[in-house]
């Protein structure tokens, strides 16, 4: 891992296209500005990890789609009947 120390207003350039700027440092943390091409997605790590984990869980589905659909339709029909 490359470790660089920056003061506020200083920045780093990644891959020639992504710039990360230290905008300021407060008691709540370091405020970062990111300039990147539209094609590069930038996310807080914990948000990225949470979505990626849900994606992986979704890929693990072991039941056939038709039986899951039947369960869902039955539950929705029951909910309608209960009204």
């Amino acid at each position: 891992m490359l470790v660089i120390t920056r003061k506020p207003e200083q920045s780093i350039i990644i891959g020639g296209e992504v710039e990360v700027i230290v905008l300021g440092i407060t008691k709540d943390g370091v405020r970062l500005g990111i300039k990147a091409p539209r094609s590069v997605q930038v996310h807080r790590r914990e948000v990225f990890e949470a979505i990626a984990a849900e994606n992986r869980a979704a890929a693990e589905a072991k039941l056939p789609l038709q039986s899951v659909a039947a369960m869902l339709r039955a539950a929705q029909a029951k909910k309608q009947d209960d009204r």
Binding site: R38, V47, I51, E54, A57, A58, A69, M71, R73, Q76
Partner: protein, 140 residues
């Protein structure tokens, strides 16, 4: 015999979609076939083209949460080249745990697809405002 007017619907009835950035955690998977088995309603099926063993059950989130809408930023709309909101198809992935009745869908990470260009992206929304695990089977 019906005339197939859409050149990207294959003979098996599937639509070939391209995700230029893949999905989060699966950035290398760019091609997906979208299938809607008629006995699978209201679910749809996304099958990875690059990896046979990767597939997802998905759902139109509006069918389980009618007030759900995806706020698209300017950059996201531009990347999708949406000329109107009607061109957007929104799908969310379904997670089926061992106790299948607790199945959920990820409203914080919707797939937004331009139905005209067949290009899609997974959009990341705030997990504070949008549930990562929204139960789709009404719980008693």
């Amino acid at each position: 015999m019906t005339q197939n007017q859409d050149p990207i619907i294959d003979s098996d009835g599937s639509v070939l979609l391209t995700f230029p950035k893949g999905l989060l955690g699966f950035p290398e998977l760019r091609g997906f076939r979208l299938l809607e088995p008629h006995d699978g309603y209201p679910l749809k099926f996304l099958q990875s083209v690059e990896r046979d063993e990767v597939s997802f059950i998905c759902i139109d989130p509006a069918s389980v949460k009618p007030d759900y809408s995806v706020p698209l930023g300017e950059e996201e709309s531009e990347a999708l080249h949406l000329e109107s909101p009607d061109e957007a198809l929104v799908l969310t992935l379904v997670v089926i745990p061992d106790d299948a009745k607790s199945m959920t869908t990820n409203l914080a990470g919707p797939l937004v697809i331009n139905v005209r260009s067949k290009i899609g992206f997974q959009i990341v929304l705030s997990a504070e405002k949008y549930p990562l695990r929204f139960p789709i089977i009404p719980q008693d």
